[in-house]
């Protein structure tokens, strides 16, 4: 089987097919990006105080100097300091969680892995809650300490889970999620305990364990951003390695990936993303699990594209989950947003498992 030389035409054809793939990605990116922007806008108009779409649009235009319309004082506060900041925060948290899910699933080669199922989210929540109880809430070099506590908790939980699921030097896939649940349940109980001892209200416990954006605003966006960005950059630097690591440790080694170092960087990236999200919103499950799956079906498993698209889709998902959590109860109380994501994500994931497992495709 002597190989004839490749013709220019063949190379061109393959090149063009790849270009077509890139175009599809660009279109998906544009659609998701626009939907995200539109959703942030729409989310600011939905709530108990009914403000007209037109007025809100005008108020936004005013902010960028294109309109002279201003809302009254109450409207201004509700739109810009409550709803808008909250929608932005939800988008960022969703992006972080989905990004962390992409990394964990690829790295651990486990379709059920996400920050929530492997206990890292709860670890982060525990770390942050502990910091609050200990009264360490200051800022260092302008960075809030809360995400740092969450990061420490996330890493500790991750190490614990990896040790628990290790057998003869290998991480057993079946044990991974089991270990995650054990660690997560244990730490949830601990959060409840320390919060109760600290005589805090039930709502503080619910906040950490079920997740919520209630009363969150720009200051929390500031908490999240540096850590979330650091995580994203670290992940982006290693996206190609993540593709290869998804094939397994041995093959990655043969292909020239510095396995230990790269894996460490990626685990740190995922932990940073999780910690950034959890420190401002508590534990919100299923976003990091379902969104990467959906995007993988839509756009394939290449992690560079997957990270970008999943981050946007995660943001989109969480904005609307948060809107639902604000308006779903007739009495006007808010539901923890983690309840909404679990209610939506649980059955959806069940469907994914049942329909796609048999084909060996994620």
């Amino acid at each position: 089987m002597k190989a004839e030389e490749l013709s220019a035409l063949e190379i061109q054809e393959t090149w063009d097919r790849r270009r077509a793939g890139s175009r599809r990605f660009a279109v998906t990116l544009a659609v998701l990006g626009l939907s995200l922007a539109a959703s942030i806008g729409l989310a600011t108009a939905i709530g108990r105080l009914d403000l007209g779409w037109g007025e809100i649009a005008q108020a936004f235009l005013n902010k960028i100097g294109l309109s002279s319309f201003t809302l009254d004082r109450t409207g201004e506060v509700i739109v810009f300091h409550l709803r808008f900041s909250r929608a932005v925060l939800a988008a960022l948290v969703g992006a972080c969680l989905a990004g962390a899910g992409v990394i964990f699933q690829g790295l651990l080669r486990n379709p059920l892995a996400d920050p929530f199922t492997i206990g890292v989210s709860t670890g982060a929540a525990f770390g942050a809650a502990l910091l609050v109880v200990l009264g360490i809430e200051g800022a260092f070099w302008g960075l809030s300490a809360l995400p740092l506590g969450a990061l420490a908790g996330a890493l500790a939980a991750l190490v614990a889970v990896l040790i628990l699921s290790r057998e003869e030097g290998r991480i057993r896939q079946e044990s991974l999620v089991l270990a995650g649940i054990v660690v997560s349940t244990f730490l949830s109980a601990f959060i409840s305990l320390i919060k109760s001892l600290d005589e805090e209200s039930l709502s503080a416990i619910v906040f950490w364990i079920m997740g919520s954006f209630s009363g969150r605003g720009w200051v929390h966006v500031g908490f999240l951003l540096p850590y979330g960005l650091a995580g994203l950059v670290l992940a982006a630097l290693n996206y190609r390695e993540l593709d290869i690591l998804a094939l397994g440790e041995e093959q990655s080694h043969y292909l020239g990936v510095a396995v230990s170092r790269t894996r460490l960087q990626l685990l740190l990236a995922a932990s940073l993303l999780t910690a950034a999200a959890v420190s401002v919103s508590g534990v919100i499950g299923f976003v990091g699990l379902v969104v990467p799956h959906l995007i993988r079906i839509l756009a394939g498993p290449s992690h560079g594209r997957l990270l970008i698209l999943a981050a946007l889709a995660g943001g989109l998902t969480l904005i609307w989950a948060d809107v639902l959590s604000r308006v779903i109860l007739p009495g006007g109380q808010e539901l923890p947003v983690g309840v909404v994501t679990a209610l939506l994500g649980g059955p959806f994931f069940f469907y994914l498992l049942k329909t796609r497992k048999g084909r060996g495709v994620w």
Partner: protein, 273 residues
């Protein structure tokens, strides 16, 4: 190219191979033979830098293998492992292009040269038609050839195969070995294969290294090592080596363990009576 000095390998307290000494030069075609559990895969893993030596040293181009940067190592040698489970639905082309990883800049885009190397490797392994198929949906043999294409896309000086053709049918086996032989002759590619198919080894390898009971028991030209005496002793099985009248190549045949080789099989006897 590769120099192995007083090498001992093992996992924890369990020693698998002891005191290996040999050297593989550029352009050789070497087969590693031995019974099950004799350490063929262990040796390949060590030569690939995956398993650090317990004692002794492996040198790649004069440098200690453990100190060679991963990317440089992967530019020099490619490994096709025994099992190639791939769980993510990458297209076969994407998998082959992963072979370009050690030759691409860290965040650089794919160049036409990368694409050409990938396409050429797929043509060589007759996997061109699989380009856009998902690697999770092709057959085991096809996937193995895709992984071999990925190794070739690395454009290595050394190609190591760890039972890489065991899952392929006869035709595909021969095709892969013919390809290795062609690259070996034309491009001076060094080929090292751990293999349990004796006749395949005899047909293509010019040098054989035989492992048994933690040791290297033979190392030499195929003509000298592939003999009835040596094979019978190594595999503890009566073996008969002959030269095939048509191909002129050596081949080995196993004889029944009962030692009653000359006896007529029961079925034939029954048929006669």
């Amino acid at each position: 190219m590769i120099r192995v000095k007083a090498l001992s390998l093992g996992y924890g307290a369990r020693a698998v191979l002891e005191d290996l000494n040999f050297q593989v030069d550029r352009g050789e075609f070497v087969g590693i033979l031995g019974p099950n559990g004799s350490g063929k895969s262990t040796l390949v893993n060590a030569l690939a830098g995956l398993l650090p030596p317990q004692a002794g040293a492996i040198e790649l181009n004069g440098q200690d293998l453990q100190s060679v940067a991963s990317r440089v190592r992967a530019q020099t040698m490619a490994v096709v492992p025994q099992s190639n489970e791939i769980r993510f639905p990458f297209s076969c082309m994407e998998v082959v292009l992963m072979g370009r990883y050690p030759r691409r800049r860290r965040l650089g885009t794919l160049t036409p040269e990368d694409l050409m190397a990938g396409l050429r490797a797929m043509r060589q392994t007759t996997t061109e038609h699989l380009q856009d198929r998902l690697v999770t949906e092709v057959s085991g043999g096809e996937r193995q050839r895709v992984v071999i294409a990925r190794a070739l896309a690395q454009e290595p000086d050394i190609l190591m195969l760890d039972e890489a053709t065991s899952s392929l049918d006869v035709r595909k086996k021969l095709e892969i070995f013919e390809l290795c032989q062609a690259l070996n002759r034309e491009k001076n590619l060094t080929v090292l294969c751990a293999i349990h198919d004796l006749n395949l080894a005899a047909m293509y390898c010019r040098r054989l290294i035989i492992l048994k009971d933690d040791r290297m028991v033979e190392d030499g030209a195929t003509e000298l090592v592939f003999t009835s005496e040596i094979l019978s002793a190594v595999f503890e099985t009566p073996m008969e080596v002959a030269r095939h009248p048509l191909s002129g190549r050596l081949y080995g045949v196993m004889l029944p363990l009962s030692g009653d080789a000359a006896a007529e099989p029961e079925i034939l006897k029954a048929g006669v009576s």
